[in-house]
Amino acid sequence: MLEFAAALNVFGVLPQTGTSLALAVTSLAHLSPLDIAVIVIYFAMVMWIGFYLKKRANTSEEFFMAGREMTAWIAGLSFVSANLGSLELMGWAGSAYQYGILAAHWYWIGAVPAMLFLGIVMMPFYYVSKTHSVPGYLKMRFGQGSSTVAAVSFAFMTILMSGVNMFSMALVMKVVLGWDITFSIVISSLAVAAYVALGGLRSAIFNEVLQFVLIWGGALLVPILGLIEAHGWTGLKAQIIRNFPTQDYLHMWKGIGHFSDNPMGVHWTGIVFGLGFVISFGYWTTDFLVVQRVLAANSLRSARIAPVIGSFFKMAVPFIVILPGLLALVVLHNPDGSLMHLVGEDVVSAHPGMGLHSYNEVLPLMLVRYCSPGLLGLGITALIAGFMSGMAGNVSAFAAVWTYDIYQPLINKKAVDSHYVAVGRWATILGVVISIGAAYLVMSAKGIMDYVQALFSFFIAPLLGSILMGMFWKRGTKAGGFWGLLLGTLTSISLWAWVKEDPSALRYVAFSPDAKDMAENMYRAMWCFSVTVIVTFVVSMFSKPRPESELNGLVYGATKLPKEEPVPFYKNEWYWAAIAVVLFVALNVIFW
């Protein structure tokens, strides 16, 4: 147990005055010249990559699709890295502190089955159809109407997500280094805007792979040293049970038989069907932000195996995100030696100057605890890299959807290729500018993750219903696709507004008044997915289907997939997918 004075030294906490914690701690740490050098070198490297790749982003195919030249490994790492943004690093470390190992559901059942399904089942249709985007696929399958609905909602969501990323990054910089939020936002956005506008998707992908390596290099030390301090996994479990005897932080499935039995307020049906199916499949198989990375693969086999490669890394991410959150439950202490209790952003805001820390500060607190000069810079660089990869992913996807699915079909149909590349570059810059505005909006949001989960179910769940009906049901029609997607999206927004207006409506939306925000998001996703599927089905049955000959390359059962060359078993996507399934099941059993 550490006294406050000792804590100042041990944690590297630097109070504004040395007399009282109540006098506002300006930052957790000060960077040494070595730390600053590490950060500066990182920025120099990403800009070098952007400038270097500018010469390879002259045509629209190069700028928006990276020339479809990425290997399976690069596409797979980029696929995971684009998702490994600020929310992953900070939000889920905070959620692990708040909810325990339950948070790992978002990495395992909430990702792995969907990633494997994308690679093995859906990728051939996306790839063979040669679509430039997910709304582009909808255009080929259901026509311009549903494509426009998907494109506009995606563009809106993407910009808001980008804003979330920016805000998270600025928050870390404020908490850890005391940097001004606006300064952080401007610096990071300028860097992202520059390297994506210069090198297009190829630059975004290359930087994402670089950022992925840095995230692991910078963040992996925290759980390693944390486990040493906590006397291993067994010691950590024993201390958590001793410190929190009434809470179950250590089981993934045991405590979710009823909404009120776990701190997250979720039920296993919500986890399996809401998260494991609708939200997860919606995000990993239809969100263009991630699908775009795989579409850039250099062959169908690469495109199929890339998400499988990504699934292995996704299963490993809890080691650097969830584990630090659990470790924080036992290793973080107040100056008086008592266990530190982190709180929500709203509590921190309501008690300025009290020295409180929010859930989202778990990772920075742990970094400062274990990392000496140089390593601290590396850890901060890992966080910045995560934020930038998330932002770049959103911005590059926004530029592609804006140009291909909104500007080209609705505003200027017959321009030359170089014009669309220019539009893409300007869309990148414009996307960053709008994202900055969104970042300031996010500042008033209660919890970052809850906010994003709400967004997911607004747009992603209906899109999943539409894509699945289009890809696996030949009878689906243009009118069915359009009305299904539109009404599904409106249902989602309406349910959200209903609960916002009348919280007691939760018992209808989530089947229980005990359900909490995340459970509500899962069930809302299920509702709007169901509405999309039902409306698409009913309207399609009353409208004229397209001839089967027009569905080649778009729909299961009407598509002749290209024959792939036989390869040794260890290069086969089915082999690696089977191993991923075994590992996935084993992890869930071990942490049952």
């Binding site: 070595l34 790749l53 290359f206 040293l225 274990y370």
Partner: protein, 78 residues
């Protein structure tokens, strides 16, 4: 799995960029760790478990990985 090289993505592979960055970081952090050890500065360190000298072994690991990738994927190598 396929080759990790991306021959059509320009003259320089992404793995070379990664190798260069890891080499620089590994050298900087490792040298700092050695300096800390040699001068005894780690005893005054503000971090937990400073006695484990993480900068030395973590920096060394990054340096080794960085050199491997930088050399393996250096521009012009067949």
């Amino acid at each position: 799995m396929e080759s990790t090289k991306s021959p059509n993505s320009g003259d320089i592979s992404i793995w070379f960029f990664i190798g260069v960055l890891l080499t620089i970081y590994g050298a900087m952090i490792g040298v700092y760790g050695l300096w800390e050890l040699a001068t005894g500065a780690w005893k005054d360190s503000n971090v937990i478990l400073a006695n484990l000298h993480a900068p030395i072994w973590w920096g060394g690991l990054m340096l080794a990985l960085g050199l491997f990738y930088a050399l393996r994927f250096r521009p012009g190598k067949a």
